[in-house]
Symmetry: C2
Subunit: 331 residues, 2 copies
């Protein structure tokens, strides 16, 4: 959807040092586009590596005018506020970006097309022509790997993109969330799809790639989360042959809820049981664990966390960002 | 949403003797409103008991004009075509109904408000102000019974309404589909809700009834169906304390797919396992089986089918329409 040569400005006002900048960080990590700058008046003058720990180091500026001066032609909303609504305080900056000739990428539930017309890509829009799922992906002969998780936001997209990069040439990545769609230019915004069409939406994406060596399906949600919904459309629409469990090292409860996370081995069995539904569908095989160790500063400690899980489950366990995803992709 | 005194005309053109009239049959069985007639030119002159086997016997007429002459003031689309789109062939009849002063009830995904404005209730519209689920229903102390199923269209709504009727005074029914919403006047059209808000939508409905003796939650879909999606939002949003499994006597495979239905005992365990998610949430108890024996003409044979399941699972099993739901409601 985006010209891969267009320089981006990533709007992260107030979110560089605080919670909510997941979209911006995803774009910084994985967008193939050049990135002119991040916009955040709080950290203006600093860089993204120092402030956010991302590898790609771009300048942080305070205003839309500075972003325009740096040559940015695309303005990406890099913050995901709770509830998915666009705070009115953002509108003046977006107005200035559009007046300055920029195109806006919006990954929130709130739409901007009504305000800016064709100058906007509202990523989280239900596509046309969807149907309920039919289980068609069962008929494919390729390997389909679904990323599943212990919680929201444990790194399912990141791990999936890393496994994809380490997979054989010709492999596909099916993006199912706004960040994955923005950085790959394709996919389906699962959480904005009406329930009736959600399996069909995943199925349609997976069926676009009948002959890949591997199709990686970006996961969403978690079976143990109280707002869990996405596991079933992903399992039924994608009919995965393999699963990779994504977890955060040391996490015992959900991030936003006093809900315990079960032992990983039990959770793996539950995901496989649900996928198989008592033998109704082929049982996928869990091939490894992608462990998010971002919060552990010490490399040896991060490696030890992976080794403990590897010994416990007798499955490969790596942090794909820290250690690369080759061991998960090679299975 | 409907004046309970308003006489209904149920539009079932071509569907009285054929597949697709589920909405019309549901209205005939459960609407508290007077029903002036069914509209179907193929069976005009006959009655609904003889043609469709429903208890309420109303005349079938051929035209909207006849329905108006019988005093109907509400025109209900009683057919659910695959895909949820309104066939253009229906529009002249709907036009005539609106010109004649009738109000239209539309349970399909296609909306009619654009054509008829405030003369329409588009039942399958996402309500305003939804949020993701939070697991709040866990904090309630009442009994919450979720209807789960082996397949689509095995009678989850019907069994749920029958159990509700047999439940203690003050019990609630949470409708989650267009028919249940139409006949009870409340509820949420789950399959038209965006995935991100689907658990929250169920949670909001269940939280409306904190002090009922029993809240019956209408089920949708099935864990073994390839387009399955609704089980998770129902389990997480409703946090049921009890389950009732709905099945069709003798059915070995899904109606529309060559997919085997597992042994009922295994499926019950899977539903309970998913609800509990390895001990993360309270485990619901399955209290019985509602068996759809509509296709079995012989009463003794229908009873024997129930008795076999009862002996096999050591759980009460009845056809709620044939035998009443008292045994399921008393548990």
């Amino acid at each position: 959807m985006l010209d891969p040569a267009a320089p981006l400005a990533v709007y992260m006002e107030g979110a560089v040092l605080h919670y909510g900048g997941k979209m911006g960080v995803g774009v910084l990590r994985y967008s193939p586009n050049p990135i002119a700058c991040v916009i955040d008046s709080e950290t203006a003058g600093r860089g993204t590596r120092e402030t956010m720990g991302v590898e790609r180091d771009v300048p942080i500026v305070a205003t839309v005018e500075e972003a325009l001066a740096l040559g940015a032609t695309v303005f990406i909303l890099g913050i995901a506020p709770p509830g998915g609504l666009i705070p009115p305080a953002w509108l003046p900056a977006i107005d200035r970006a559009v007046e300055g000739g920029m195109f806006v990428v919006n990954g929130l539930h709130d739409k901007l097309a009504g305000r800016y017309g064709s100058r906007v890509w509202d990523v989280r829009t239900e596509p046309e022509g969807l149907k309920p799922g039919t289980g068609a992906a069962r008929t494919l002969n390729n390997r389909r790997v679904l990323m599943v998780g212990t919680d929201m936001a444990v790194g399912k997209m990141t791990a999936g993109l890393e496994v994809w990069k380490a997979s054989p040439k010709g492999s596909a990545f099916v993006a199912t969330g706004q960040i994955g769609i923005t950085v790959t230019g394709a996919g389906v915004p699962l959480d904005a799809i009406r329930l009736d069409f959600s399996t069909g939406a995943i199925e349609r994406e997976v069926m676009r790639y009948p002959d890949t060596p591997v199709t990686i399906i970006e996961g969403q949600g978690s079976l143990v989360h109280p707002s869990s919904t996405a596991t079933l459309p992903l399992l039924r629409g994608g009919m995965p042959t393999h699963l990779i469990l994504c977890a955060r090292a040391g996490q015992t409860h959900l991030e936003t809820q006093p809900v315990p996370i079960p032992p990983l081995g039990q959770l793996i069995r539950l995901y496989e049981d649900v996928a198989e539904a008592c033998g109704t569908f082929p049982r996928p095989k869990t091939i490894g664990v992608a462990l998010n160790t971002f919060h552990i500063k010490d490399d040896a400690e991060a490696l030890a966390a992976c080794e403990r899980i590897e010994a416990d489950l007798n499955l490969p366990c790596v942090d794909p960002v820290r250690h690369g995803a080759e061991r998960l992709a090679a299975l």
